[in-house]
Amino acid sequence: MNVLVPIKRVVDPYARVKPLPDGSGLDVGSVKFDVNPFDEIAVEEAVRMKEADPSIHVTVVSIGGAECEEQLRKALAYGADEAVLVETNDPMDSTVVATELEAVVRQLNPDLVLMGKQATDDDCNQAGQMLAAKLGWPQATFACKIEVGSGTARVVRETDTGEETLEMNLPCLVTTDLRLNEPRYIPLPGIVRARTKPLSKQPRATSAQPKTRVTRLDSPPPRPAGRKVGSVDELVAALRERGVL
């Protein structure tokens, strides 16, 4: 079985980043970049499947500039078998990403595409579902448990009101949520070994143009400063005065 895990290079999700004063972009300064944490969960899950069944082959793919090689190497260090970089500096939105990933899927014929539910930079939560639509594959988003059998997948997914279980024939697409797993710590030998794993580069396969573009970035307005109260009685009085009780 072949598993394809698309990953995105994102600005360090734990760093505080602000818009540039003129709103034209992000002030990333010396902030580091990393693998989108939800994609990291997808890589971890694929690697666990491989550890349980060594016949499973895990390919990671990223779309972007040459610098994305760093994130692909990290995914290889997790235990993925090979990496593909669709190298481009073109402007992209989720529709372009889904269209390019569709071409990669047609090229590699995976049985399962496993990817993060959203990227922590643009927070779109679109690419997985768009890709599943283009492929005509069943989808299970927000996965918190995945079991792959022969030709089928059973996915427990989080919903607005609890959880549900979906069963799908392969090939299918699954997007990962926080509670699927906790990605492992990558030991040094893994990172060293990853340097020798295959990483191929290819140009874009389509000429799809983005259908959205970001024209401006701003900081949200700050909340007006509040005050501390000294006791529960004082709190109750303040809430009554505010009219929220």
Binding site: Q139, E163, E164, L166, E167, R213, K228, V229, V236
Partner: protein, 274 residues
């Protein structure tokens, strides 16, 4: 310009009025029945959405699941979590866990939008109801479902919310302390990601950028430090109350009223004095 509102849950139509009053133009409404898997729902919506310039729904896990798939089928432009509208082709939405607001221009039609209702006011009504065509059999099959909830109001629409963090220790303590105050207020219960991850509270109660985005009149945060991720989910609340033993907790910077106190004493005391 003609828009289609897709309702996924009861009570969403009232939120749609404000959104479409701001967007302008005529709008129609359709309803996706509960229990329809995403591939079947999106296929049915594909034919229902013919002729509409905008297809919009209230942001939820379900609407994102279905509408992003619909956008893929329609080759549409998509905007997730719109919080305001500049024009029918320009929307504002939060990115990077709500720390930045992005203005997004759409360059194709149709436009598929999920929106956060708290950002919109105004009155409008749907011109017609569109019945959803019979959906195809789902490729995915739902084989089990665990719907939790009970008698409390729905978190994403509640006027009052009491949330707890990891200091609540375990599920029983969480329910006893947080649940009691919520019931006293007639409100919903929420939780931090840390509380959910450690099994103190169920996943659907998670409030924050990757959980539910809420905007109640009153939000009481007990034992919550105020991570960026959590604050992104509550910043549109009208009044935020923080109860925390740590006077330097970041949540005190955001709270309208802060009480430095042990939540195990202060929360029951608050409940008893309401």
């Amino acid at each position: 310009m003609k828009s289609l509102f897709v309702a996924f849950a009861p009570g969403e139509a009232e939120h749609a009025a404000g959104f479409f009053a701001t967007l302008g133009g005529d709008w129609a409404a359709t309803e996706v029945p509960p229990g329809l898997v995403a591939d079947a729902a999106a296929a049915a919506l594909r034919s229902a959405s013919e002729g509409f310039t905008h297809i919009a729904a209230v942001s939820s896990m379900r609407s994102k699941d279905v509408l992003a798939r619909l956008a893929g089928l329609l080759d549409a432009a998509m905007v997730t979590d719109a919080v305001s509208i500049n024009s029918p082709t320009s929307f504002v939405r939060p990115i990077i866990a709500g720390t930045v607001l992005a203005t997004v221009e759409t360059m194709a039609q149709p436009v598929v939008v999920t929106f956060r209702p708290s950002g919109f006011s105004g009155d409008s009504a749907p011109g017609q109801m569109v019945s959803l065509p019979t959906p195809p059999e789902g490729q995915a099959k739902r084989t089990a479902e665990n719907v939790r909830g009970g008698s409390r109001p729905d978190l994403s629409q509640a006027k009052r919310i009491v949330s707890g963090g990891r200091p609540l220790k375990d599920a029983e303590t969480f329910e006893r302390v947080i649940g009691s105050l919520a019931d006293r207020l007639g409100g919903a219960v929420g939780a931090t990601r840390a509380a959910v991850d450690s099994g103190i509270a169920p996943n659907e109660l998670q409030v924050g950028q990757t959980g539910k985005i809420v905007a109640p009149d009153l939000y009481v945060a007990a034992g919550i430090s105020g991570s960026t991720q959590h604050m992104a989910g509550i910043k549109d609340s009208k009044c935020i109350v923080a109860i925390n033993t740590d006077p330097d907790a970041p949540i005190f910077e955001f709270a309208d009223f802060g009480l430095v106190a042990d939540l195990f004493q202060a929360v029951p005391e608050l409940a008893s004095k309401l």
